[in-house]
């Protein structure tokens, strides 16, 4: 058995283990043809989708540029939001030192990494207090080349840079990751002679982690991106399996789908490892934006979509587990467990004569976090809460790449099960239009007047 496989275990969704809120063998068996058809549909569109082929890309352009940046920069700042930030953050948290930016430079493997992924004035201004612009490279990431928050951040830091290094110096401090042909950022790159990296035209933001979006920042901080891709390629092999019973992506898509049909409208991803914390955040976008849809492919109004929730073991035992164990039966849990941490962190107890702490003597943090994960899984199972587990033999580039790819495939297959388009996001359009109207963008005057009229109808009795 390949010890590097991220294993998927669904024992605890079975009704004979977890009780009436689980699934019976008969329910699963009846749904397997649906899952098999979903696998077939996704595999049949690999070329159009683009992202399924990403494990096989040539990374030499990314690695070369990353080497160049590593050589001359102390800091890399990623300016991106949504799919252009969540992946880079998740990979960094998973594979680098937990206090990476605070490490003395001789203990880091590369430049500091900051991803200020919000249009917050204080956050962006504050970043200027802790970086040395002359030794900083900005990686501006937007597929469309027009994302408001990212373009605003680009303008903001461009201005600061120009003041410090001059217009002529800018090119040394910018790498723009965007559509290979279209968009404002592409035009800007051409005008300024700035370096660029492409995002394949058919790959949407939330499926872009294994493009230059995620790979370039990772390579700059010294992560082996070919290992990430090798893991993804291995997951590709596993998830091409046409028998759903042998395909973890299909099996988990089916389980989440069936349990949603049974009223579990939330899926909690709960890693028992601080390193995997932000993978849960990356998954939140992937799952929510792909499956949360008003209209199905037949054009019917369906308003579907399970809500992904990020929780962290053991931390959230002290916050959410009371609700998870005793609240409504409205959730399915996805635990992420790690078989082997990089170190144990042993404990010695000079107070072992004090009864409540005796059991900790001679144990380790690794034993404790693993015991707590197993205990919580058991307690939720006994409380009748269906749950699955993803077992990482260890957290490294190979297993992380596997897991990213597996979740992407799981999401695409779930889209088939829900019979919706998992690759669009029509629901964010109204907010964008309203933002343009409120920002005074040309052509949006009518909308602005409507908004102001709506504000006029505001009832002050409902304000306390």
């Amino acid at each position: 058995m390949n010890p590097q496989i991220v294993r998927f275990d669904y024992n605890n969704v079975m009704a004979d283990v977890v009780g009436q809120h689980g699934l019976t063998e008969a329910e699963i068996e009846a749904a397997l043809p649906h899952a098999a058809a979903a696998i077939e549909a996704v595999q049949g569109h690999r070329a159009d989708l683009g992202w399924p082929e990403l494990p096989y890309q040539n990374t030499s352009e990314i690695i070369e540029l990353a080497q160049e940046v590593r050589a001359r920069a102390d800091t890399l700042v990623v300016l991106g939001i949504g799919g252009s930030a969540l992946g880079p953050i998740a990979t960094q948290t998973a594979l680098q030192h937990p206090f990476y930016n605070q490490l003395p430079s001789e203990l880091r493997r590369g430049p500091c990494l900051y991803v200020p992924d919000n249009a917050d004035p204080e956050l962006n201004a504050a970043l200027l207090d802790v970086i040395d612009l002359e030794r900083t490279v900005f990686n501006v990431i937007t597929k469309s080349g027009t994302t408001a928050e990212t373009m605003a951040a680009f303008l903001y830091f461009r201005e600061a840079l120009a003041k410090r290094v001059g217009e002529k110096g800018l090119a040394e401090h910018l790498v723009l990751t965007t559509d290979p042909r279209k968009g404002a950022l592409r035009q800007i790159a051409e005008r300024g002679g700035f370096k660029t990296l492409p995002i394949p035209a058919n790959v949407g933001g939330r499926f872009s982690e294994l493009t230059a979006v995620g790979l370039f920042p990772a390579a700059v901080t010294g992560i082996d991106i070919n290992e990430l891709l090798a893991g993804a390629a291995y997951a590709d092999k596993r998830t091409q399996e046409r028998d759903p019973r042998k395909n973890p992506a299909a099996m988990n898509a089916l389980i989440q789908f069936l349990l949603d049909q049974k009223g579990k409208n939330m899926v909690v991803m709960m890693p028992y490892a601080s390193r995997l914390r932000d993978v849960a955040d990356w998954f939140r976008q992937l799952w929510a934006e792909s499956l949360g849809k008003r209209i199905n492919r037949a054009g019917d109004v369906v308003n579907v979509g399970p809500t992904p929730i990020k929780a962290l073991g053991v931390t959230d035992q002290h916050s959410q587990v009371q609700l998870y164990a005793e609240g409504p039966f409205d959730k399915v849990f996805n635990f992420l467990f790690v078989d082997q941490f990089m170190l144990e962190a042993p404990l010695t107890n000079p107070y072992s004569d004090i009864n409540e702490t005796t059991y900790l003597d001679g144990k380790s943090f690794e034993q404790l976090i693993k015991a707590e994960g197993a205990a919580t899984q058991l307690a939720l199972t006994e409380a009748g809460r269906p749950n699955v587990a993803h077992h990482f033999p260890a957290v490294n580039a190979y297993t992380l790449g596997q897991y990213y790819y597996m979740l992407e495939m799981q999401t695409a297959i779930a889209g088939e099960l829900y019979n919706i388009n998992a690759f669009d996001q029509p629901g964010v359009e109204a907010g964008k239009v309203a933002t343009y109207a409120l920002m005074g963008r040309e052509g949006y005057d009518e909308r602005r007047q409507e908004i102001e009229a709506a504000r006029g109808r505001h009832n002050d009795d409902y304000v306390i």
Copy 2:
């Protein structure tokens, strides 16, 4: 009008604004006596509850000890989890520089602050790479004095400290915050002559932010804790109001309760300010652990509890808003808006001839984040999603203290509406027992054997 009031606006839950998924005036009117009784019940138990009186405590002991630590430490490490970590983190994020720990020491107002709130071996070990033990003080926080993760962390760092500064030097590096009389940590403090701060015996973890738990770390980093308490005192005045229509805590408790009854089993707290990000995490514990209950006060099995979800504006527009706008009608939104940021962060656009970016020229990040918040609120309202807004005139110690207290009161009142005990957490017991069993604690052998037997029934066919 006092410009420092955090205002609560519920226009967008009204059915005539948001449509059929909102509440009618008649529904609210009918429920007001229930809310009034809930206010009365909570106010009638102020002394037993303890936390309602915290705004009026004497802070001199905390401030004196904090001054002493500020004078001799470069770093404060808080060892705590759940209520002993979420509050200190939320306050720090809200009121200090966004990259506080990375600031050069002359720009910080006090020591660095780390809160490694997980029993993760790598996280805890890594902290030793970035702190200087000789200049570090550890604030160990556990109400019971027995919390496994916190005691493990204490033992781990105590060992490292003893190696560096010797057994005799330990007292200079430890402040233990715990029950004034009971528990292992109290015994340990007495044995070692370590400094302690008390958590009032009747105040539970999730209501302890305004005790030494939250106040001491805040005072060490230079936050004006008397301002926090002054804000809380003001919120106390506002939430003692017996007419629910004039009491923001009661009105929001009622709205969340009524919408939960109508199938909105999730409450999304979405601050439009990076500073308020972790307040949403603090609220997650408060709301979930207080209201997620199996049994009501009559002893009936009810399995109630809305699920609190943390989202961040604008960041999560690019992750969750597709689902929020188009998915099932299963959520109510609590927006947090800030009227005035500490700075604007203006934008200048040398590419204003490129059409898609023209509108950003001469604008600011502050305008953008405010426009996006208003636009998202509008889009969700128009999509029929009920939502309320909490308007912060600015984020400072006074408004933050107000908001903490208001949410605590809202939670207590909601407990009355659900007719459950909002102050216990029986559902975490099973997990604790299983942890002890798996850690080999004396007296838990039988449970360990049961767990091992259950593992023996594991079906390998359900592992892929």
